[in-house]
Amino acid sequence: MGARVDKRSIALTVNGQRVSREVETRLHLADFLRRELRLTGTHLGCEHGVCGACTVLVDGEAVRSCLMLAVQADGREVVTTEGLAAPDGSLSTLQQAFWEKHGLQCGFCTPGMLTTLTAFLREHPDPTEAQVRDAISGNLCRCTGYANIVAAALDAAKRLREKR
């Protein structure tokens, strides 16, 4: 029993790097990132698509990586929380705002918050507070009460607008 292991070769771009691996087809994308690529910034908080901690960007869109199979990312471009900072390691505007506004405590939900808000702010450069709250309504946080996350997002939006 169990000898039947369904595998596929996949090739994709992760944080700007081309990677290829042979993976079991049932491996979900989050585990591919964490286990195969050792990109452990993507966190698994519920593995049923509700908590949002595993959110990554696939072709620029925020998606739950626990609800996607690694094989489905074949040929795609994936960005994880590790890929948000500048190549020289300096924090992105959003990351910097999280730091300054105390937008994280235990940090477990943080990667999903960052990826979600990165995608959101691209589409909504000048969001209202209610829009920000709505945008992260699919990301659970047990520590912060969300207030400082919302403040950080609004602050980042402002700074990004000023940069343009």
């Binding site: 169990g2 039947r4 292991v5 369904d6 596929r8 087809t25 049932r26 491996l27 979900h28 585990d31 593995e47 049923h48 698509g49 949002g52 959110t55 869109e61 925020a62 998606v63 739950r64 626990c66 609800l67 996607m68 199979l69 094989v71 489905q72 979600t116 959101f120 709250r133 709505d134 945008a135 309504s137 699919g138």
Partner: protein, 287 residues
């Protein structure tokens, strides 16, 4: 909570997918995966084969010919939400989609997947019910067009055989100007609706109701059209009396009970939300 073992198939054409669906035993179709993937991770669903429809280009896309809208089954919910021409013809689609999960799940979730999964609280089947949409399903030898009213066969059980695939959904936008509203009661943003109500309303030149459609989700296993109320409204102004009639019809439905809400509560809220949806739709119809 890791997915169980299965053999993965990712056909590139509908024909291939239909062949697989027609020949493989205990196979499951994978659309956007926002409901199926959790069920796999929880190991509630244990298929021997997974047929991934995501690489079949011919299954996605929105086609508009006059008032006729045809959306491929694999059209992402976000694509429906962002489609301007669709929003102009059927603004309720966008309004209802805002209540479907969260934007991250709508980036993957599909129209066909929502219909095939048929969660009792799902918003999209309710919207399709408002438009008397037809679901196109195929197997390798024939095509069926199923009226949305014939779609639910029980709890999370659509009118779909194991060898069939939902290929598209078609509906007609309402002619001329009309009002719309989609309102729901959920515990939190993005939660399963306890009750959701969609309403469409068009008025004649005397501002009397020419045509009405009201559909509820979350109360029964499938979407429920409130036909009696709709008929009762025709030719009337939307005054308190008309609202009372509609709400009373809503309170008559056979609503399910679960751990989160009793049937009585659902009926009561259905009455409230039907009234609210009609008022909003009416206000919009008046412009």
């Amino acid at each position: 909570m890791k997915p169980p073992p299965f053999t993965y198939h990712d056909p590139r054409s509908l024909a291939d997918a239909l062949r697989l669906a027609g020949t493989l035993e205990n196979a499951k179709l994978l659309a956007g995966g926002q409901s199926l993937a959790p069920m796999l991770n929880f190991r509630y669903v244990l298929p021997d084969h997974l047929i991934d429809l995501n690489r079949i280009d011919e299954l996605s896309g929105i086609r508009i010919e006059g008032r006729r809208i045809t959306a491929g089954a694999m059209t992402r919910q976000r694509a429906l939400e962002k489609h301007e021409a669709l929003a102009a013809l059927c603004p309720i689609v966008r309004e209802a989609l805002a209540e479907v999960g969260h934007f991250q799940t709508r980036n993957r979730g599909t129209l066909g997947g929502s219909l095939a999964h048929l969660d009792p609280a799902a918003e999209l089947p309710g919207v399709m019910a408002l438009y008397d949409a037809h679901v196109e399903v195929r197997n390798s030898s024939k095509t069926r067009y199923i009226h949305i009213g014939e779609w639910s066969r029980g709890y999370m059980t659509p009118n779909l055989e194991p060898d069939e695939i939902v290929t598209s959904v078609a509906w007609d936008a309402w002619e001329g100007s009309h009002g719309h509203a989609f309102v729901e009661l959920a515990r939190r943003r993005g939660d399963f609706a306890i009750v959701g109500v969609g309403a469409l309303l068009s008025l004649d030149e005397r501002k009397l109701i020419r045509k009405a459609a009201v559909a509820l989700v979350g109360v029964a296993y499938g979407p429920v059209r409130l036909r009696a109320a709709e008929q009762a409204l025709v030719g009337k102004p939307l005054d308190d009396k008309a609202l009372d009639i509609a709400a009373a019809e809503a309170r008559k439905i056979e609503a399910k009970s679960d751990l989160y809400a009793s049937g009585d509560y659902r009926r009561r809220v259905a009455g409230v939300l039907v009234s609210r949806a009609l008022k909003t739709a009416h206000g919009r119809a008046r412009g």
